[in-house]
């Protein structure tokens, strides 16, 4: 679905189509500066209610846009994202801007002198950074709430969560402020806000995209990736960011594997199954309905069992809390009162996990990876819920499922954690249910982003999945 054109940029058509903007800018139908001015105006109009941006880099964005317009006047190729505005979760380094990572403590650090690797790559492809986005403190969050900056708000219902921890990224794209945003996903932090805010999100294979010059959370599990309103836009951003990077020790030394040229390929020959067992438990009816719609559109009734998924989620939880505590140990000693108390208390507990139990979790990870890779010999794609429910109300701490009261924070990520635990590529696709959207995970074997994006695009073309217009604005 598209938004009506902005005054002054009617040549673009949908102002939230990255592909449309790039095409219009490249053709000289609209200037990059006009696109950026319209974007800044949308941010100024809607961010006061969404609270998705913590920083707007207007001066820089105008300068970048003018440079692009100058290059176009000289008939230079400015790249596939020419003039496309984008924003980043505020754990990405932005030169001149403190990398707050959702915290009070880190905003006191000196601003970095160099951008994060993925920002450099996006801008090398012609995109224009317009700001930094709200997030849960230190990315240890599934809600999008933040005690220091206030919660980001769901664009479809301002009283509901965006999901976290990349909540500002979900709200900014879902609310139509920018066509593209970047976020991070350690246990679900791209897929959860994609689900709650009704947009597409790509968590690539672990090691695919460089994390250089972004603030970490859990080195073993951290991924970075894009949010968009369409699959072609998601693929455009993904292709622009691929490539090895010696500045990230986990970034794989793989050649570029562009997906944009492959998107149109018919996914009909792929073997597709729905995740059973664990992934069909602890879900509300809307999650079941969303998975059923996607499975029907893909013509599959096959069920596969991902072995020991509950234990995989447990191991991810243990590694997360332990590595997170290690990262923040000195800050916990020196500045405990400057943390969000909920984050602090989780990290303090994480510091107390005996080392052998963490080692066991890492060993289990190796075992579980082998089991799931074996599964991918028989299937190409696995479908699973992205979240067990639509976005809960802000501030809600529990929900009742099957007559059992469960903590909201801990349960939002139960279906994403067993997948990111072994670094599988996933596109979260939005099913536009009423009154709130909800996402479904399209999962493939490592390094097969081409498959998940092709399947997501096929689903988008059927109309079963789409980024709904923001209903709360």
């Amino acid at each position: 679905m598209s938004l009506p054109p902005d005054p002054g940029t009617r040549a673009v058509g949908d102002p939230l189509s990255a592909a449309g903007i790039a095409s219009a800018v490249q053709a000289g139908k609209v200037s990059a500066l006009e696109v950026i001015e319209a974007t800044l105006a949308r941010i100024a109009a809607n961010n006061p209610v969404l609270n998705s941006f913590t920083d707007v880099t207007a001066v820089r964005a105008r300068a970048t846009a003018r440079a692009i317009d100058g290059q176009i006047a000289e008939r230079k190729n400015v790249g596939p994202l020419a003039g496309v505005p984008f924003a980043v979760k505020n754990l990405f380094d932005v030169r001149g801007l403190p990398t707050r990572a959702g915290s009070k403590i880190n905003r006191e650090l000196p601003p970095p002198s160099r951008d994060a690797a993925l920002i450099e790559r996006m801008e090398a492809a012609g995109a224009v950074l317009v700001g930094a986005l709200n997030m849960g403190e230190y990315a240890y969050d599934f809600t999008g709430e933040n005690v220091h900056d206030g919660p980001s708000r769901n664009p479809h219902d301002l009283t509901r969560m965006t999901g976290g921890s990349s909540g500002g990224s979900g709200a900014a794209v879902g609310g139509g402020l920018v066509p593209l945003a970047l976020g991070s996903d350690t246990n679900g932090s791209i897929r959860v806000p994609s689900s709650f805010c009704g947009v597409f999100g790509l968590k690539p294979t672990y090691g695919r995209l460089s994390r250089a010059r972004s603030f970490p959370f859990v080195f073993s599990l951290d991924h970075l990736g894009p949010f968009a309103r369409t699959v072609p836009d998601l693929a455009l951003a993904y292709d622009a960011m691929q490539g090895p990077d010696p500045d990230d020790g986990a970034c794989a030394n793989r050649a570029l594997e562009p997906v944009v040229p492959l998107l149109e390929q018919d996914p009909g020959a792929l073997r597709i199954a729905v995740a059973g067992g664990y992934f069909q438990q602890n879900v509300f009816p809307e999650a079941t309905e969303a998975v059923a719609r996607v499975a029907k559109a893909l013509g599959t009734t096959r069920i596969v069992e991902i072995p020991e998924a509950a234990r995989a989620r447990a191991a991810a939880y243990v590694i997360t809390t332990s590595e997170g505590a290690s990262l923040h140990l000195e800050r916990l000693r020196q500045r405990p009162n400057d943390f969000d108390p909920a984050v602090r208390d989780r990290l303090l507990a994480g510091a107390m996990i005996p080392a052998p139990l963490v080692d066991r979790a890492q060993k289990f990870r190796r075992w579980y990876r082998a089991q799931v890779l074996e599964l991918f010999k028989a299937v190409d794609v696995i479908i699973a819920p992205a979240t067990p429910c639509v976005a809960p109300k802000l501030g809600r701490t529990t929900f009742v499922l099957d007559d059992v009261e469960l903590p909201v924070r801990a349960h939002i990520g139960i279906h994403t954690q067993p997948i990111s635990f072994i670094g599988l590529p996933v596109v979260a696709v939005p099913v536009p249910l009423e009154p709130m959207p909800i996402g479904v995970q399209v999962i493939a074997a490592p390094w097969r982003e081409d498959i998940v994006l092709r399947v997501a695009y096929a689903l988008e073309r059927t109309g079963v999945v789409s980024a709904a217009l923001p209903r709360g604005l």
């Binding site: 090691g207 073993s220 447990a314 243990v318 000693r333 108390p341 208390d345 507990a349 801990a410 599988l424």
Partner: protein, 60 residues
């Protein structure tokens, strides 16, 4: 680990790691630790061959 011994454990590890833990934070720290340990034991009880390598340096 029993309820009281977990209180003692939090005090002991807090001292060993020089972590300042206010009395008012302890119930939440304890609740989080109980969840973490329950999940850690779920992993621990799964038998793995001695030769299993940890995945701490991980390639998907």
């Amino acid at each position: 680990m029993g309820v009281n011994s977990l209180d003692d454990y939090i005090d002991a590890v807090g001292k060993a790691l020089a972590l300042p833990i206010d009395e008012s934070w302890k119930p939440a720290v304890k609740a989080n630790l109980e969840v973490s340990l329950r999940l850690a034991h779920l992993v621990d009880e799964f038998p793995l061959p001695d030769e299993t390598e940890p995945a701490s340096v991980f390639a998907a």
